[in-house]
Amino acid sequence: MSFTWISSYWPLLLTGAWQTVSLLVISVVFGFVLAIGLAFAQVSGGRLTRLAARGYCTFFRGTPLLIQLWLLYYGVGSLLPMIPGIRQSLFWPILREGFFFASVSFTLNYAAYEAEVLRGALLAVPKGELEAGQAFGLSPWKLTRRIWLPRAIRIALPTIAGEIVMQLKATPLAFTVTVMDLYAVANKVRQDTLLVYEPLLVVTLFYLALTAVIARVFRGLEAQVPVRR
């Protein structure tokens, strides 16, 4: 075991950690917004929206994230340049980056799993609380915004923490599409120094620390509202 390489690689490790964390935050934040829409589409949508949301969740939960990522990066990525004018547009520097494709596919994937969690939580909100809101004359929109959704998110909080940790554990896949995330840095250290276990160990410790942080944050969030047991 030798860890002398850290002294020369720590800037790279920091960039990698930053990339990993940004991938996680981007996919969780945007995915959560998308998941709220998908969950409501399944719970209170019409037949067609319900079917579409169901199909979305089935597809993204039924196929490996790696395939979704490659479908987007290699598949859509190879079709994109065919759109006329896109190479000249100001989005092109973003659109050709692996990071962009990784964020999009992680977001879509996270949304599918989170939508299932939220769907269950929306259905688990006690009916009496919604009826109380209606009795107070809240409009359906206000009822959803003030009571139904916040209550559902509270119910789902422990599961959401689990889903975020799962998402964190999926981020190393981004290295397969040239994103320089933490795992990719470990890979590079291996190629440069021929050390196999040490970089993996350091990276693993970082993931464990991040998991602990997520767990701590959610414990704090859950403690926000007193629950009578």
Binding site: T58, T63, I67, S78, L168, T171, V196, L200, T204, Y207
Partner: protein, 241 residues
């Protein structure tokens, strides 16, 4: 449009120059890897669950480390790490015994690594399933004078199956999807076959979509199978307690 359609069908045809055959072979090896990994996981998990419940403190501590570490570390890191550590360790062992080094077969390595990972998850699923069995049933079996083996076979196993089945189904789904990660260490299953097909024809989109649909088909078919098995192991049980 007609020619484009023909072109895509030609690409996916099961006979060369079409790549359909390669994809289907990849899908078969994906299912084979997953099934073998699940079987190994079941063995490890049964041992792990019984070990955790046995009351031996050292054993329980070791198993706690196993399940915690495996479940906390990203799958990709586990697979790559275990792949190197496993082949490296095996060759060192062989060198210590004065035997020539071996090239580890990709299939065996993939199955061993995924099975080891599955075992950790399986331990927890089975432990929960065993704990959910009413203690009276086991005490009754003891009172009848059944030995541990007979008790496991006749009482514990049939009683834990309905409890464990949803968890097992989830694990099967995740191992079929995790097996795609084996592509990263270079064993040719569906994901890597797709990438090869895409790289040599430049029709990435078609092939990745096709393989996503193949994975989806595996998932949906397994759903049906698990529903049938669940109906079988739950026979005679009330639908709702």
């Amino acid at each position: 449009m007609a020619t484009a359609q023909q072109g895509i069908l030609g690409l996916l045809s099961p006979y060369p120059p079409g790549w359909g055959g390669v994809l289907l072979t990849g899908a078969v090896s994906t299912v084979a890897i997953s099934a073998c990994a699940l079987a190994i996981g079941l063995l490890l998990g049964t041992g792990g669950a019984l070990g955790k419940l046995s009351g031996n403190r050292v054993l329980r501590l070791l198993l706690d480390v196993y399940t915690t570490v495996i479940r906390a570390v990203p799958e990709l890191i586990l697979i790559v790490g275990l792949y190197y550590a496993g082949t490296d360790g095996l060759n060192r062992l062989l060198a210590a015994l004065d035997l020539p080094p071996v090239e580890v077969n990709g299939f065996v390595a993939a199955v061993a690594v995924l099975g080891f990972v599955q075992g950790a998850y399986m331990t927890e699923v089975l432990r929960g399933a065993i704990l959910a069995i009413p203690i009276g049933q086991i005490e009754a079996a003891k009172a009848f004078g059944m030995g541990p083996v007979l008790r496991f076979r006749r009482i514990l196993l049939p009683a834990l199956l309905p409890n464990a089945l949803p968890g097992l189904a989830n694990l099967w789904m995740s191992v079929t999807k995790d097996s795609a990660l084996v592509a990263v260490v270079g064993y040719q299953e569906l994901a890597l076959a797709t990438r090869l097909a895409g790289a040599s024809t430049k029709h990435y989109f078609v092939f990745f979509l096709a393989s996503a649909l193949l994975y989806l088909a595996i998932t949906l078919a397994s759903n049906v199978v698990f529903k049938l098995i669940e109906g079988r192991v739950r026979r005679g049980q009330p639908r709702l307690a």
